[in-house]
């Protein structure tokens, strides 16, 4: 249980600045996801909070207490690593119980807690196995067990699902969110996958090149992106951007329309173009359309439209869902 505050947190490796003064207020019990392209500094920011890296400037506070200078071991946070980082020479029981042992928890109590954590994660049958005898998903569970058993102030997850296959990832995603809701422990989760970010987070921090671009709930980011970067990063397929005269006619330097807000039809009003590629998913159709004078646009339609490559098509943007951006890429909202 903890409120985490970042005040002007900066990190440089030598002359290379990785985080440029981040300010953030993470509410107690919330699930916050750091998302951004690789190299944006999201893992570094997490490691700064963990205490595995030292800040170059700024303060990190937990419930108002400054953590800068406090070693990782004493911060009372727990972390799940991308590589799981299980202790290979210890059994599952030993792995989950290691933190309790370090904290000097009495043996009987520790054993009871380890078994409770194992039961929550369906690991009871594997308690005496070594990590090498487990599957990827089971190892991941052990890593999570190790994190929850200590009842930390907050969980830190560093891309924990990226080594799992797609189906398992979806399942573990659900398990982690459910677990976090039950425990009501503050969680910070780092990922480069915006679907994970959208589905798991209470609030998302979008990072780019060491700066926080926006901090908000998933739907806030979707409906009201602060700038071109967030607009392009959140949402799949990504937002269409149109510049030049078309944008000027809306009084903006660039306008953005999400593929799902472009209504495609064989004929009618809107921008005239030709289908260059049609992707049929059954439930949806993604049309990549070449519109003369505007460029390539992607439109998403529910169901099957029966359009294929070379067909003429009309794209009508939903006027209420057009995002306008100024010359600096900032959102213009009236």
């Amino acid at each position: 249980m903890a409120r985490i505050t970042l005040e002007g947190v900066a990190k440089s490796f030598g002359a290379h600045a990785v985080i440029h003064g981040a300010d953030l207020e993470i509410a107690d019990g919330s699930f916050v996801v750091f998302v951004g392209p690789s190299g944006c500094g999201k893992t570094t920011l997490l490691r700064l909070i963990a205490g595995l890296e030292d800040v170059t400037a700024g303060r990190i506070l937990i419930d108002g207490a400054n953590l800068v200078g406090v070693p990782a071991a004493k911060r009372g946070l727990s972390m799940v690593f991308q590589s799981y980082a299980l202790y290979p020479h210890m059994s599952v029981r030993g792995n989950i119980g290691f933190g309790l042992k370090m904290a000097g928890t009495p043996r009987a109590e520790a054993s009871r807690k380890v078994e409770a954590a194992a039961a929550t994660l369906n690991l009871t049958a594997y308690l005496d196995r070594k990590p090498r005898e487990l599957s990827g998903g089971q190892r991941q569970r052990v890593a999570i067990g190790r994190a929850i058993v200590r009842e930390p102030k907050a969980f830190l997850f560093d891309e924990p699902l990226s080594n799992l296959d797609a189906a398992l990832r979806v399942q573990m995603r659900l398990e982690i969110t459910t677990l976090q809701r039950q425990l009501k422990t503050t969680a910070i989760y780092v990922t480069h996958d915006q679907v994970e970010a959208m589905t798991m987070a209470d609030r998302i921090v979008v990072l780019n090149a060491g700066r926080i671009e926006q901090f908000g709930s998933p739907l806030e980011l979707y409906d009201r992106p602060a700038n071109l970067f967030v607009a392009g990063f959140i949402g799949s397929p990504r937002m269409n951007f149109v510049g030049q005269e078309t944008a000027h006619s809306y009084g903006a330097a660039t306008i953005g329309i999400r593929p799902e807000h472009l209504k495609a039809a064989r004929d009618g009003e809107g921008w005239q173009g030709r289908v260059s590629v049609a992707e049929h998913l059954g439930s949806d159709t993604f049309l990549h359309v070449d519109v003369p004078g505007i460029g390539n646009l992607t439109a998403r339609s529910i169901g099957e439209l029966g359009l294929t490559t070379g067909d003429p098509v009309c794209l009508l943007p939903d006027p209420a869902r057009i995002h306008r951006f100024d010359r600096d890429g900032k959102s213009m909202r009236s």
Partner: protein, 276 residues
């Protein structure tokens, strides 16, 4: 698809492996056989292989002329002592280079290795003079020092490679679990590094046991280990093949036993990290 191994192929492979193995082992076998011959038979042309008068007289003579146990004890002290001191210096050194590298770490590693590129005879004169000046010739401490320094680069390198293989994440996980540096060392790093430390230790004992250049040049009798004991049978007044063989057999026996019992550990240690 894996290659199919037919019984004929397996037979050929087995025979070939045995031939190569025996060729490598033959000199040692010959030495052991010669140690049981009389001096005359040891010289004989054509040599007799198994059908000769087996005798233990060489062993008796060797033990009577020079004290085997004295030299063996020196070997144990020198090999064990130099290894122990080298490990005490090398473990923290390799640890810091692997987990807290600085800008100079790579240079230091290369510099250490470069000391092994020079033939030892190049520094024999200065070292001999130093030892003479400080009265360290033919002393156990002198031999321990020179062997320790000679093997230190290899020990540091080996340990560094093992420590490097231990994923940093695991140590960080221990830190997140609330372990202090000391407990991280005891509960996580050491158990994971034990195979590496053990094989480095074994290899260093073998290297120090067999080291002949410095031991021959810096000791004569009081501190002389088994290498000097062997060499004393190749003397200017004539070669005594049978006695030399007996002395050699006695000298290599302990290390052969050690190697035999630790072969699994040694092979694992030497190929550690080669295959992920």
């Amino acid at each position: 698809m894996g290659r199919r191994i037919t019984p004929v192929r397996l037979l050929i492979n087995t025979v070939a492996a045995w031939i190569v193995g025996l060729m490598i082992f033959f000199p040692i076998l010959w030495m052991v056989l010669a140690s049981f011959k009389t001096e005359l038979e040891a010289f004989a042309t054509p040599p007799s292989f198994l059908f000769f008068d087996w005798t233990l007289e060489n062993y008796a003579t060797v033990q009577g002329r020079s004290d085997y146990l004295h030299h063996a004890l020196n070997s144990v002290i020198v090999a064990g002592g130099s290894t122990l001191i080298a490990m005490l210096i090398a473990v923290p050194a390799a640890w810091s280079m692997a987990f807290a590298p600085s800008k100079r770490t790579k240079d230091i590693l290369l510099w250490m290795l470069s000391t092994k590129m020079m033939p030892p005879v190049g520094v024999l004169m200065p070292i001999y003079l130093l030892y003479r000046t400080f009265g360290m010739l033919d002393t156990l401490s002198g031999l321990i020092l020179v062997l320790c320094l000679g093997n230190l680069p290899i020990v540091v390198w080996m340990l560094f490679t093992y420590f490097k293989e231990i994923p940093k994440d695991i140590l960080e996980a221990a830190r997140m679990d609330g372990a202090t540096i000391g407990r991280e060392l005891i509960y996580v790093l050491t158990p994971m590094a034990v195979p590496g430390i053990a094989s480095t230790l074994l290899l260093n004992v073998i290297l120090a046991w067999n080291e002949a250049f410095w031991t021959l040049n810096l000791s004569t009798s009081a501190a002389a280990p088994l290498t000097v004991f062997i060499a004393s049978y190749s003397s200017p007044e004539g070669l005594f093949w049978a006695k030399l063989s007996a002395a050699s057999t006695m000298a290599i026996a302990p290390i052969l036993v050690l190697g035999w019992f630790s072969q699994r550990q040694l092979v694992r240690g030497l190929t550690f990290g080669a295959v992920k």
